[in-house]
Amino acid sequence: MSQAKKPLPLWADIILIPIINILMALTVAGIIIYLIGENPFEAMKIMIYGAFGYDEAIGYTLYYATNFIFTGLAVAIAFHAALFNIGGEGQAYIGGLGVAILLLALDQYLPFWVLLPLAILASMIFGALWAAIPAYLQAYRGSHIVITTIMFNFIAANLMVYLLVNVFIVPGSMIPESRTFADNAWLPFMHEMFGWVGINISSSPLNLSFAIAIIVSILIWIFIWHTRWGYAIRAVGFSESAAHYAGISNKKIIMMTMLISGALAGMTGINEIMGVQHKLLLDFVAGYGFTGIAVALMGRNHPVGIILASILFGALYQGGAELTFDMPNISREMVTAIQGLIILFSGALAYMSRPWLEKLFGLFGSINKKIEVG
């Protein structure tokens, strides 16, 4: 019987279990869709086609995924130090503010290739600063990071409304929005970049920041698993007292981790502000910071997992929008419910299927052994 408790093979742990979880979530979602009188298989087809069926759809899916990669990485790196950063929403919002301030100030004077690194830096600095105060309060004053970061989301929202209504608004305009940046401050869209090499694809909000997100994912992977700092972060995450005993300053690690986490969340502003909207506006974060928590959970805090989970959630956002378009009975709340089910099954109930699988694999293992012995 001891074989039944054998740990699962790696591929089952990182591929099979997530797929089983998603299938369970989709089954429950399908039952609900059936109950409101629509055909669940038809709905699934519309969702998949709407997310991956044609180039514009893929563009939208990957555009959403770009946001989730940034916020997902932000949550993940904090998780590695056993910190739960719920403030991605506010850090992304303020990161966008940093991008907008920089571009509004300098778009008349500097060319794109100078603006881009400066804007990335601005998004990271602003996002990091927004995470710095909760980090300081956690490290040196013991205020719980969950509480402080969530409070900072509200402060960010209030600050942004104040700034947009009183400072950035174009005089005489109805909309609390800044002016549109000059063309040289726009990140190139994917359809433009493909156009340069002669390939025509439909226009979508997907832009260069997707590539930036992939590069950042690689850098974060190197950082967490192949540097001393990454090791220190993981050591603190495993056991604070052991890390302390080993001579690691927990306070410094908490500060460093949260600053990186905030900087990553802040980079969402690159995609939204510099890549898509080209101006500062209200609520451009639209919950991407919170979805990042689910993405990190599902991606097991590993950059590869996070990229895959981001694409899944991007598909849910884009496919879900298509679904409400084509099936009038399905409201956007219904789509949120489907997203919620997937979060529930792959986050909160992630390990529900594990004991059964372990038993199953144990069974196969013992059968194999018997055959060998036989």
Binding site: A157, L282, D283, A286, A321, T324, F325
Partner: protein, 328 residues
Amino acid sequence: MKIIKLAVVALSATVLCAGDFKPAVVFDMGGKFDKSFNEGVYSGIEKFKKETGIGYKSFEVTNATQREQAIRKMAKRGGNPVLGIGFAQGPAIDKVAGEFPKTSFAIIDMVVSKPNVQSIIFKEHEGSFLVGMLAVMASKTAKVGFIGGMDIPLIRRFACGYEQGAKYTNSKIEIIQNMTGSTPSAWSDPSRGGELAKGQFDRGVDVIFAAAGGTGIGVYQAAKDAGKLAIGVDSNQNYLHPGTMLTSMVKRVDVAAYDLLKSVQTGTFEAGIRSLGLAEDGVAWALDEHNKALITDAMKKAVDQAKADIISGKIKVHDYMSDNTCKY
């Protein structure tokens, strides 16, 4: 009977020939059941659907990027007219209207200058002026309150009109103003609305105008519990608490949406600005069986006089959004 039926068939046939008429509506983040602005449009187009039997396509956006996506998709699939709800859709309509010059577009609460866009705006400051007068005349403490939803220029326009109406009636009146919040949740936070209302009552206010979407529900309930008066907004909300709802500042988005669809159907659609104020019955104060006991003849007379004066131009109500200040 048969002749009438034939006539109807013939009529609808000509209408169909007059152009592809497939109404499409893009609601904003509040959603079509927000008990207020979006829902007003919804009831207008539902009425149209019931009367004509012509269905429509609709979409509710959940983030900023979807506005443009949804409007473009509607136009691509042959939607005509494509109606955008709320000022936030302005830039998206502006962009997509340029890409589909043969499609008719319309937007409520915002001006978009394109040859195929009709911009429907309301003079909320005029209606707010009138309910400001009513508030002061109904107040016994010479203190009136205002509770706004999200702190944006549009709501400050309500507040500014209200303030002017109040000061017009009694220049010494004290006005206490609160905004519920600075995020979109300020449109749907009745408990916060109730707290703000109680706070204002404690400071001596006895009439409150809530321009706060769903948050207003809490304000009206607090007024009922305290035996004070409240003023509704957007739709006629007098029926909610007869006896403590002084009146409602009605914004006829339903009529605007209905008229728009009708105009496209009959081929009389015109691009440009449609500014709906007191003169066009686009804004009004509501008087019905639920609040007639609260409105004395003197009050009604004064307000009707002011309405006539505003229409004739004798009273000029300053529009907050013309210069983003409330100096008048």
